[in-house]
């Protein structure tokens, strides 16, 4: 009988390629799991803003920055490992988690945290994609080489998480008596919504999530409407 159809070398070569792939997947899983733990912890802490008066934010921020430092560490490990392979080959494994990690950082910065030497922490600050990259110490929006980075899409998706969270905060701030915060959130969310309107979106996940931003706007507008109706808007904000 003639030799087999398949040269044994073909098998060996494929097997070693697939084995390598399995190994990478495993190491990625480990890092991503650790990242996930820190994100969940940070998100949990951050959800306390809904019951915390603004005056007590600094104490909360100090706590939140602990898991965020760990997030940064794990993203660093991820970056190191992932940069050994074509970026988009495994990107689907972590993209969602990286978005969540960015979201925690964006929210922390918005309520006054993540201060750096060049940009002090203040309420209402939206970190840019570049600033997010600086915080995680990874490149952003890479085009000229194939390595780990934070993509434009990941950042934009994280921004939709931020507007969602802030639309909840607007309600709770009013409950805590902080009507000015609700007004500021309203202005911010509207600006962001106007920004998203500039994008030409296709029918993909980004489109879907950006579509939901208008509901965040509506939620916040409802709050402002209620306040306006009852003349509860702080005067100095009105003049702007």
């Amino acid at each position: 009988m003639a030799p087999s159809m398949i040269d044994p070398q073909i098998f060996d070569q494929l097997k070693s390629k697939l084995d390598e792939d399995t190994k990478v997947q495993k190491s990625l899983s480990e890092i991503i799991d650790q990242l996930e733990t820190q994100i969940a912890y940070a998100q949990g802490l951050l959800s306390r803003i809904h019951g915390t008066p603004r005056a007590e934010y600094p104490a909360l921020l100090q706590q939140v920055e602990v898991p965020i430092r760990k997030e940064i560490e794990h993203v660093g490990e991820l970056s190191k490992l992932a940069s050994n392979h074509p970026y988009y080959r495994y990107n689907y494994r972590w993209s969602h988690k990286v978005q969540d990690a960015i979201s925690t950082v964006l929210l922390t910065a918005w309520i006054g945290g993540m201060a750096t030497a060049t940009s002090p922490g203040e309420l209402g600050r939206l970190l840019t994609l570049e600033q997010v990259g600086d915080i995680f110490q990874v490149p952003v929006n890479l085009k000229d080489r194939d390595a780990f980075h934070i993509t434009t899409e990941e950042y934009l998706l994280a921004v939709t998480n931020l507007t969602d969270e802030l639309s909840r905060l607007a309600v709770n701030a009013v409950t805590l008596g902080d009507r000015e915060l609700a007004v500021r959130i309203s202005a911010f969310v509207k600006d962001i919504h106007a920004g998203f309107q500039l994008l030409n979106l296709k029918n993909d996940i980004l489109r879907k999530r950006v579509d939901s931003v208008k509901y965040h706007v509506k939620k916040v507008e409802d709050v402002v409407y209620d306040l306006t109706l009852r003349n509860l808007i702080p005067v100095k904000e009105q003049s702007a």
Binding site: M1, A2, P3, S4, M5, I6, D7, Q9, I10, F11, Q13, L14, K15, K17, L18, D19, D21, T22, P86, Y87, Y88, R89, N91, L126, T128, L129, N141, L142, K143, R145, D146, T152, E153, L156, K190, D191, I192, H193, A194, G195, F196, Q197, L198, L199, N200, L201, K202, L206, K214, V217, K218
Partner: protein, 307 residues
């Protein structure tokens, strides 16, 4: 500000999109420049993707046509029949133009970025592995096939043979290619190529078994014997397409298994194909196939080999 996208009938949502934005003055705020930059970024991405999707669809269709042509082959032989060879060459020429037209979009980081939009590569692998099998009764290796496809893309980028371009309906793509490639060759820069991934190769091989099954069915029905390259001469047991399919099945099953959905599905289909060919082989033995009428199987031979 939230009612821009659709009207009550749900139509007219795309045209005003662009138009309205240009005429209605955009209220600028501190984030406007940032979003405008993102818009450019995303537009580029969408353009690239659309270009790839279009080419991919055409490459898939052409690959399928090659496969149809190959299914008209009746036996495994070094030289494919002339008309089929010609047909295949013509389509490969078109494919090479298309590949060259998207080569720039699939370089470096973008190769895997658009993997999902490049499903044509799997189809192309299927067609080329099938052609290789029909010629040599063997499986082409990943490296050989990569080289073959890369040289296809390079061939498409050389401006000399423009003759085939007109066969392609989407004239907008080749229109850019010649100028780009002549620049590239002038500057002695290697023309970029489209590479296949290991996944393209493996999934293409999965699909190859379906084609082998079809080929085994028709060729057996018409020639009254299982296809083999060993000819009539030789050994008592020539290696037939049935053994090849069984080999392929164990080959794939011995590889590290992926838990992905398409892997499981394709493996399932592969198993079915192999079983179908096994039944054909069984039918040939039991019902005699090419044997003379009145032939009776000698039951003793298999039952008691030692005596």
């Amino acid at each position: 500000m939230s009612g821009l996208k659709r009207d009550h009938q749900g139509n007219e949502k795309q045209k005003p999109h662009e138009g309205a934005r240009k005429t209605v003055p955009v209220v600028r705020n501190e984030y406007t420049p940032m979003f405008e930059q993102f818009r450019n970024e995303l537009d580029h991405h969408h353009e690239r993707r659309e270009k790839i999707v279009k080419a991919s669809r055409d490459i898939t269709a052409l690959s399928k046509k090659i496969i149809f042509a190959l299914q008209r082959v009746r036996k495994i032989q070094q030289d494919l029949p002339n008309d089929i060879k010609k047909d295949m060459e013509a389509r490969l020429d078109q494919i090479s133009k298309l590949l060259a037209s998207i080569a720039r979009e699939t370089q470096g980081i973008n190769r895997y970025r658009y993997s999902n939009n490049l499903s044509c590569m799997e189809e192309l692998v299927e067609a080329l592995t099938f052609a290789h099998y029909l010629r040599t009764q063997s499986l082409v290796s990943y490296d050989e096939l990569s080289a073959e496809i890369e040289s296809l893309a390079q061939r498409g980028a050389t401006p000399e043979d423009d003759a085939v371009v007109k066969a392609q309906p989407d004239a907008n793509m080749p229109e850019i290619t010649p100028s780009e490639s002549s620049q590239a060759t002038a500057g002695t820069v290697e023309d970029p190529v489209v590479s296949i991934t290991v996944q393209d190769y493996i999934y293409g091989v999965f699909d190859l078994t379906g084609e082998m099954m079809r080929f085994a069915t028709t060729s057996t029905a018409l020639t009254r014997s299982l296809a083999t390259a060993d000819g009539d001469d030789a050994s008592a047991r020539p290696r037939t397409i049935l053994q090849d399919m069984q080999d392929l099945r164990s080959f794939v099953e011995m590889l590290p298994q992926s838990k992905g959905r398409s892997w499981t599905q394709k493996l399932q289909v592969l198993r079915q194909s192999v079983r179908k060919v096994e039944l054909i082989g069984y039918g040939m033995v039991v019902r005699g196939g090419e044997r003379a009428k009145g032939w009776v199987p000698d039951a003793e031979v298999d039952a008691d080999p030692d005596e």
